[in-house]
Symmetry: C2
Subunit: 213 residues, 2 copies
């Protein structure tokens, strides 16, 4: 059966983004350390059009999480720009250039209406009528495949609080951010089952099933 799977890198003190997100620091101050474990992987570099890269325990985890995904939902914070607000002249087209690495329908949670944006084989649909609507559209688009909640932390928290998430994959590098957007805050009485804990270079991969969704 099609699942709703959330995945995010968080600091050891629980933040999915550091304080003061900006164009220079899309993940907030210190937040780039959240992704150190992944940006060196061949499995990450290839879809981002980069050569080289490592193969290690994280490669398998990274590839597995991208299998059988038919649509992604992301928060406005992840799509950007960091200042948020109305879209203006629509010149902001995300962080990923002309060929975004998603290659599937992406639904962006936002308070501001905007026409769909197609870049190569990725279409961004901007959803203004709430997380349930975004999930319904993403499920429709994904068909038999899973829906992927790609962050940031606030959007994942909203789906967790609403009892709409089946699985939660956390990547925890050994960094502290000391502030920013905290995952697992305000999500209520969530019952989780630990599915695995995997050691990899510079990161721990923890996976949970939401039992009482």
């Amino acid at each position: 059966m099609s699942k709703v799977r959330a995945e995010i890198s968080i600091s050891l003190d629980g933040y999915g983004a550091g304080p003061n997100e900006s164009h220079e620091n899309p993940l907030g101050e210190g937040g780039e350390g959240l992704h150190d474990w992944v940006v060196g992987l061949k499995a990450w570099r290839e879809p981002h059009g980069m050569e080289g890269g490592e193969v290690n325990v994280s490669s398998e985890i990274f590839e597995e999480l991208r299998e059988n995904v038919g649509a992604e939902i992301m928060g406005r914070g992840k799509f950007g720009p960091p200042e948020g607000g109305p879209w203006g002249d629509d010149s902001w087209t995300g962080w990923w250039g002309e060929d975004p690495p998603f290659h599937m329908p992406v639904f962006v949670l936002t308070h501001h209406e905007r026409d769909p944006l197609t870049l190569s084989d990725t279409t961004f649909t901007f959803v203004t009528d709430g997380i349930e609507s975004a999930l319904a559209q993403a499920k429709e688009a994904a068909g038999d495949k899973d829906v992927f909640l790609g962050g940031g932390p606030d959007s994942i928290n909203q789906y967790l609080a609403a009892g709409l998430v089946d699985e939660l994959d956390l990547h925890i590098p050994p960094i502290l951010l000391g502030g920013g957007a905290r995952l697992l805050e305000g999500v209520g009485d969530l019952k989780l089952e630990q599915l695995r804990a995997v050691e990899a270079p510079g990161v721990a991969h923890l996976k949970y099933r939401v039992v009482n969704k």
Copy 2:
């Protein structure tokens, strides 16, 4: 060389104790779930005078962490009673009965003076002149062995913030507490190196070295 090692169970949302600690809930509401992974182990039950128990991956971790320890430092919150404050008639002798499971010198951080308390082969010394003094006394007592910081979260945070911790062992069961005493809060710019991540039934064991202590 003798090390200072901190160990604590924290919830996936980062709390080392739940809200509203009391005589009924020494670890706060929901906090007993922090220790579910350990209280069923034969390795834990034996020193607590209980029969039976499981042997699994956690057993080895638990036993290893108790090797080569010469003294423990604990916060007043861990020693109790939950209402804190002056000691009154000294009738509170901790949670552990006549034969506490420490079997070594224990230094209790407190604002209130009290004479040392010996129960079986454990002596509790109450330290009112700060964490550095408690550490100096514990190191002296431990000799060549390590000093163990047994919690709660606030006392470990203080030692981390002061740059006095060599290693940090976290046990993370798949529970959320939603409030209480958070580990790794206010500890400043701590650089950590991940030493291991171990999967065990109902818990992930993560171990870090503090790089910039």
